[in-house]
Symmetry: C3
Subunit: 369 residues, 3 copies
Amino acid sequence: MVLPLAEHVDAVGLVDHHVHGYWLDVGDRRRFENGLNEANVEPLADFDSAFDTQIGFAIRAHCAPLLDLPPHADPDVYWARRSELGDAEVARRFLAAAGVTHWLVDTGFAAGAADPATLAAASGGQVGEIVRLESIAEEAARDEGDYADAFSRLLAERGATAAGTKSILAYRGGFVGDLSEPSPAEVRDAAARWRDAGGTRLTDRVLLRFGLHEALRLGKPLQFHTGFGDRDCDLHAANPIHLLEFLRRSGDTPITLLHCYPYEREAGYLAQAFNNVYLDGGLSINHLGARSTAFIGRLFELAPFRKILYSSDGFGPVELHYLGARLWRNGIREVTSSFVAAGEWSAADAVRVVDLVGHATARRIYRLD
Amino acid sequence: MVLPLAEHVDAVGLVDHHVHGYWLDVGDRRRFENGLNEANVEPLADFDSAFDTQIGFAIRAHCAPLLDLPPHADPDVYWARRSELGDAEVARRFLAAAGVTHWLVDTGFAAGAADPATLAAASGGQVGEIVRLESIAEEAARDEGDYADAFSRLLAERGATAAGTKSILAYRGGFVGDLSEPSPAEVRDAAARWRDAGGTRLTDRVLLRFGLHEALRLGKPLQFHTGFGDRDCDLHAANPIHLLEFLRRSGDTPITLLHCYPYEREAGYLAQAFNNVYLDGGLSINHLGARSTAFIGRLFELAPFRKILYSSDGFGPVELHYLGARLWRNGIREVTSSFVAAGEWSAADAVRVVDLVGHATARRIYRLD
Amino acid sequence: MVLPLAEHVDAVGLVDHHVHGYWLDVGDRRRFENGLNEANVEPLADFDSAFDTQIGFAIRAHCAPLLDLPPHADPDVYWARRSELGDAEVARRFLAAAGVTHWLVDTGFAAGAADPATLAAASGGQVGEIVRLESIAEEAARDEGDYADAFSRLLAERGATAAGTKSILAYRGGFVGDLSEPSPAEVRDAAARWRDAGGTRLTDRVLLRFGLHEALRLGKPLQFHTGFGDRDCDLHAANPIHLLEFLRRSGDTPITLLHCYPYEREAGYLAQAFNNVYLDGGLSINHLGARSTAFIGRLFELAPFRKILYSSDGFGPVELHYLGARLWRNGIREVTSSFVAAGEWSAADAVRVVDLVGHATARRIYRLD
């Protein structure tokens, strides 16, 4: 019974519901290696190598064969072969091999990265857009009229064709504190202060809160970066449990908690507690490499199976767009197979859950069909 | 050597030291499914099903055979057979199969649920009562005399025959902040305010603190709901680590930390740090289903083996009174067998630890013999 | 391919980069058992035994054979044989069997414990000193001159030959709050207040902060107790994530996060986020016994492999100096072998990572060669 499950996991077409563009030109090896470290915001130290990490070992294990190298190829060999093939061919190989039918692209952080149309052409998949709320806010700040009106208009325009919205509140002060809707007067005053200060990089709590509640009204799925990210984000304040009071008043708009590490168990609790809350493992899966199976197991605790999603959060090295899918497939195969082997799940149920997580739930909430 | 361990685990008579009544009339399928979701306080969404969760899969794997169905029976088939047998027969089957010799029943939340005498008759086990401190408080609020006197008198009366007490402070503001004993004047003032406001649903911190210290003086084991519960409980504030200062001044009265997820490692630390602190996995085991073995493994970290207890926290669907025991047996068998297989534990020690956790420690602290 | 890895793990010479002296005279069995409980600060209750814990079972499994007993020997038999051999012979056996080439000894808590020279002689290994900042502070308080000058002079003197420094801020109020460098005037005022109050047991935040920044200037690795310790330490405030802001301004001085349980995943994040941050499992490994393999697996998540260290934190019973090494070897063998078996790592890489963690990184940052 296990063999069909393994085959199904390998074949299932995924919806990658949160991804970015890959670098069109990966640059030199130093830039590539820094692109494999998520948390550090400085260049890697000379004594270090991003290849000596779980994600580095995972690239050598799983990506090397797609470049016609043996698994675990030496980093020097890997880099030489990657350079020889060139960025376009490398991208073509990894994107096709990901087995992703839909990429929902966060377009908020895109300098030098493939835009959605390029990603669609190179991968053969369909693309949708995820609009970043803080980008809308910064555009509204540059508008001359009333800030709230400008934000609402821009969100309505961009949101009309977008699949969903995204908040990086985790990077702009975190989740601790009041997240209720501010009054129009508070928004007006805060916007005036922010515009006077230049209107760049939004950190004002009033305007951040305003944006969240506008997104709830839009009604399309609202994604939150939670947990693991770079060190500008205070990890502790990005624990999704601090969204509890916000979620209690969030209505029916689907809310997806991204990444979640090391708070994936709190996120699972929230997915059980609220009909409109979902979670994924996001970039944590890529960065955990050989340990991602253990992590994926923890995603299958309190969260109902119709509330779990797949994403790679791939950005920069195009390896990540493929590796996320490869590690997710390996992990969910191992996790669900172990449940089946223990007599806890039927194999048919396991196949059904793989479909729910891999694409069906994302298709439902993002209305992809 | 492993076979006798497995047989022993299946045969051992358990003390379920924290359980509630089961529903005498389970009602319709919607009510049954909502009874399988702990965290949500609203009806499940139409797109969802409580059968598509770990607890739902576990019911189909482990409960279906007791209704003469194959493991993993379809939810429709399961519900039809359950309805056909009727609530009384279903209860009889699950309660007998739990292998529980003593049920210690939290009687604080009991509308429509079996009372202890009914549970005893249906299961063939003995019952004891766990008195909820907040219920005593609400009764004392209805008394005409001095609140503190009334509370003390009621606690002495109810406590004389009870096995222990229970606090749901987790649901009444959580553990963060001062939990020291208030002065008599503070209690008098707070009680007057509460009575003036109607004396319903206690959330006053002074009176909650007063109740805890009265329970310490009673000296019988004091149970705390910690961690995972419904979303009215702020999960973060129910982390038992916030009880640290209270525990430092709690004397010799046994204190049992219930459920603990996802803070079971902090709870284990507290069980090592204080001679009077104990923990269990409680309702987390039922809700984690196929993942409960991994959770039970984490209960066996810092906590001394004479400080770990078993409970199901079964409430509502009578499946939970059985499933908690079934999953606990499976989990502790797998966890301890793996220690034995690795040469870390002897099989004889594993059998002894199963007895400690399954009944011996509960018998000691609740004086059941 | 796995056999050579297992053999390599058994043979590799370790740097135990954080350890204390062992008791020269272990005393009676009660003292020995209390020495196996880290968190409790009171005598163990009469109903309890430190042998009925993971560390107790691990001593019987792994230490008994070194005393010519079978694995899992009865505690009475173990204690009798230990007493028969005598403290000196027991120390000789355990220290030699640890396979440690360098012991870096925290000399801050040493009454009745072997000094570094005795440890060197009994083990055949080399020793280095880790200077405790709070001890320097207490010595400076006894000095007659300017406090800051005295602290700097003493740190320079002791630090000249020491391998690194250590902070027990976790036990002196924890990590929450401002950890920036205080002004000279603030230090002067705080020192005057502390000296007036007697100058014992430093808890003044200004002087604790001053010491940390002096240690950063010294430039030798700065060790932090984090996570699991005795209950005088508020576990929650010892979560290393609360060091985030301090680390952002810590420059190039290597900072090592010790023990980390149950916050090892946050610690791994910090090790990825900062070029100068390292972590180990420290005393958690001994106390987790059969569960230490699962814990060691979690150390290999976000932390780059060149940022993970080994220590036993052995103190008191000399078993701990050996058991830490034995459990680390077993754990890293199982963890890395499972990665190799799954095709995620090559066996050659696994051997290389064992060397990095076992000694190479410690040799680099402590300049041991």
